[in-house]
């Protein structure tokens, strides 16, 4: 077992016991990145000098018996839509920000640094987090470590692939409609989207402000819990960040091994309907059977507004919010400014035309249309009414069950290029994930098996707001019975 095969929790123990050093762990990750990134392209930028310096600092602090943070010496990757003010770029995988340097760290990046993590670099994503495959990156697509002709999912494809391929034990991603959970499922790692407001969005480049959340990727449930612990909590700079008087941050690791009993699992019939790949269904149902053997009760429920209607709602609400959030990219204060314009408005129009990719343009135009005079009531306001119906679906479900389970994604990883011709085909990748963002509930994907072709399948678990501690314990119940985290993708040295 090499050092990059250790989970973050195992690495933490090894560091505390002096069996390895932060420098050794960092060097191992940097070597893996050097070897694998040319193929996988999980990282857009890596600052090896800064990473080594930070690792050395942590090693010195440890030797001097200074107090150390939760993530001391642990290498972490950060999705490139989170501001890092250390000289590394923050591009959002867009040409419009290709040369931009953030003037401040995101709250979560400050937390990583304060807890002693070693930030390795920035990972690839769909441009401005808009996409489900990382194919919308302006700088090339990331490849799935399990089959490099396939997508890693998106929009946090780079972070998911980095963890799956053992380039980093932990990574941060963001999830607006499934962008942590779906790539976690396609790459065979654990990914969690917290309750809206649990983790500060300060310094996360905004896509849809009522939906965006930052969350952890790890190979195990405990690793995801560790990274969530380091990043959760109130931040006065994000006014949607929940107060800790109202919602204190629990200790996510302390009770992780305690099963939840009794456990009622809601199984929505809509999550097992047309469009679900039969192999994926079989693997997910086998996972549900494991829970039944542990004494859990499966309860069939309905979430009548939370699949196709949720996709329709999402592609109105998210695009409307995005049309407003992305108005700031106008070539005035930062980002790319066109050089061939003939006046102010023309400067806006050309800078944005040249700087944004097609998917971003599509979504901005969709949102602008939905909000425009004459259409606002029929589209935007209508979508917000349906959002209330979706929220109610979950309130009613959680009155009858402790969590909801189903497949994270209707299929395993699809081939690169398969869904790029038809935007709608790509949008339907998120059919099981978007409702959680609209309803603000937390959700996680955990690996629960493979297809015959060796592609990972993810089990999605959703729970009520601010119950991440229980969600993690429920996830751990399954993981104890069926450890998938030991299996490595061929790219990272596993059996083909």
């Amino acid at each position: 077992m090499t050092i990059t095969d250790l989970t973050a929790c195992q690495l933490r123990d090894a560091l505390r016991e002096g069996r390895t050093s932060a420098r050794e762990a960092t060097d191992a990750c940097l070597a893996a990145i050097e070897r694998l990134n040319p193929t996988i392209k999980a990282f857009l930028s890596v600052d090896s000098g800064a990473a080594r310096r930070r690792a050395d600092e942590i090693d010195r602090s440890r030797a001097a018996r200074e107090p150390l943070g939760l993530l001391a010496g642990i290498p972490v990757a950060v999705k490139d839509n989170m501001c890092t003010a250390d000289g590394q770029p923050t591009t959002c995988a867009s040409r419009i920000l290709a040369a931009w340097r953030a003037p401040y760290d995101a709250h979560v990046v400050e937390r990583l640094r304060a807890e002693g993590a070693v930030v390795l670099g920035k990972t690839n994503l769909d441009e401005f987090a808009m996409g489900s495959s990382t194919e919308n990156s302006a700088f090339g697509t990331t490849r799935n470590p399990w089959d490099t002709e396939r997508v890693p999912g998106g929009s946090s494809g780079g972070s998911a692939a980095a963890v799956a391929a053992r380039m980093a034990p932990l990574a941060l991603g963001s999830d607006t409609g499934g962008s942590i959970r779906q790539p976690a499922s396609l790459c065979g790692v654990v990914g969690l989207k917290p309750t809206y407001g649990r983790v500060s969005r300060f310094g996360l480049v905004a896509f849809a402000s009522s939906l965006d959340q930052i969350g952890p990727f790890g190979r195990t449930v405990a690793d995801a819990a560790l990274l969530l612990q380091a990043t959760a909590g109130h931040d006065p700079r994000d006014s949607t960040s929940v107060s800790e008087k109202d919602q204190p941050v629990p200790d996510y690791l302390a009770h992780l091994e305690e099963p939840v009993r009794p456990l009622r699992i809601g199984v929505p019939r809509e999550f097992f309907g047309a469009g679900l790949d039969p192999e994926v269904e079989a693997v997910v149902r086998a996972a549900l059977a494991v829970y039944e053997r542990l004494g859990a009760k499966l309860v069939e429920i309905g979430l009548p507004h939370s699949t196709e209607f949720a996709i329709a709602t999402y592609y109105i609400v998210a695009t409307s919010e995005a049309s407003s959030n992305l108005a700031r990219y106008d070539g005035v204060h930062y980002g790319r400014r066109s050089s061939d314009h003939s006046g102010l408005i023309d400067m806006y129009m050309r800078s944005r035309a040249q700087g944004f990719g097609d998917e971003v343009k599509r979504r901005i135009m969709l949102g602008t249309y939905a909000l425009s005079a004459g259409y606002y009531d029929a589209y935007y306001k209508k979508a917000l009414r349906v959002r209330r119906l979706i929220r109610r679906d979950f309130e009613e479900a959680f009155a009858r069950c402790d969590c909801i389970m189903g497949p994270t994604s209707p299929t395993a990883a699809f081939p690169i290029g398969q869904r790029t011709a038809e935007p709608l085909a790509m949008y339907l990748s998120d059919v099981y994930t978007v409702s959680a963002n609209l309803a603000a509930v937390p959700g996680a994907s955990l690996p629960c098996g493979f297809t015959r072709a060796g592609l990972p399948v993810g089990l999605q678990i959703l729970s009520d707001v601010f119950t991440e501690d229980r969600l993690l314990r429920i996830a751990r119940m399954y993981e104890r019975q069926a450890e998938w985290s030991g299996r490595a993708p061929p790219a990272a040295g596993g059996a083909a």
Partner: protein, 100 residues
């Protein structure tokens, strides 16, 4: 819901995105297909359902009206495509002919 060429150009202008001539048809087709899909929301009776902008109750957050340091000028201007001293330089905003 088929968007005409004119409607697409109008939306593009509102979005401040210059579309190349050859792209207008392609975007018109794609946007029309998506709008057709989202039209399914009409099937739902929402006459007695209030819009929900945020799924969890949130309040506006205020702080005392006391000045605090903001972003230092050099940091704020650090990404400026064109800078003149402490100013962002931009093309003329007002027409010479426009009244004061």
């Amino acid at each position: 819901m088929a968007l005409s060429r004119e409607e697409v150009l109008k939306v593009a202008t509102l979005s401040r995105i210059r579309l190349a001539d050859g792209d207008v048809e392609r975007f018109a087709g794609q946007l029309s297909a998506i709008l057709d899909y989202v039209d399914k929301l009409r099937r739902l009776d929402t006459d007695r359902v209030e819009p929900l902008a945020h799924a969890l109750p949130i309040q506006n957050v205020l702080r005392p009206d006391e000045p605090r340091p903001g972003l230092a000028p050099d940091l704020a201007l650090g990404g400026a495509p064109d800078r003149a001293g402490d100013f962002f330089k931009v093309p003329r905003v007002l027409d010479e002919d426009a009244g004061a």
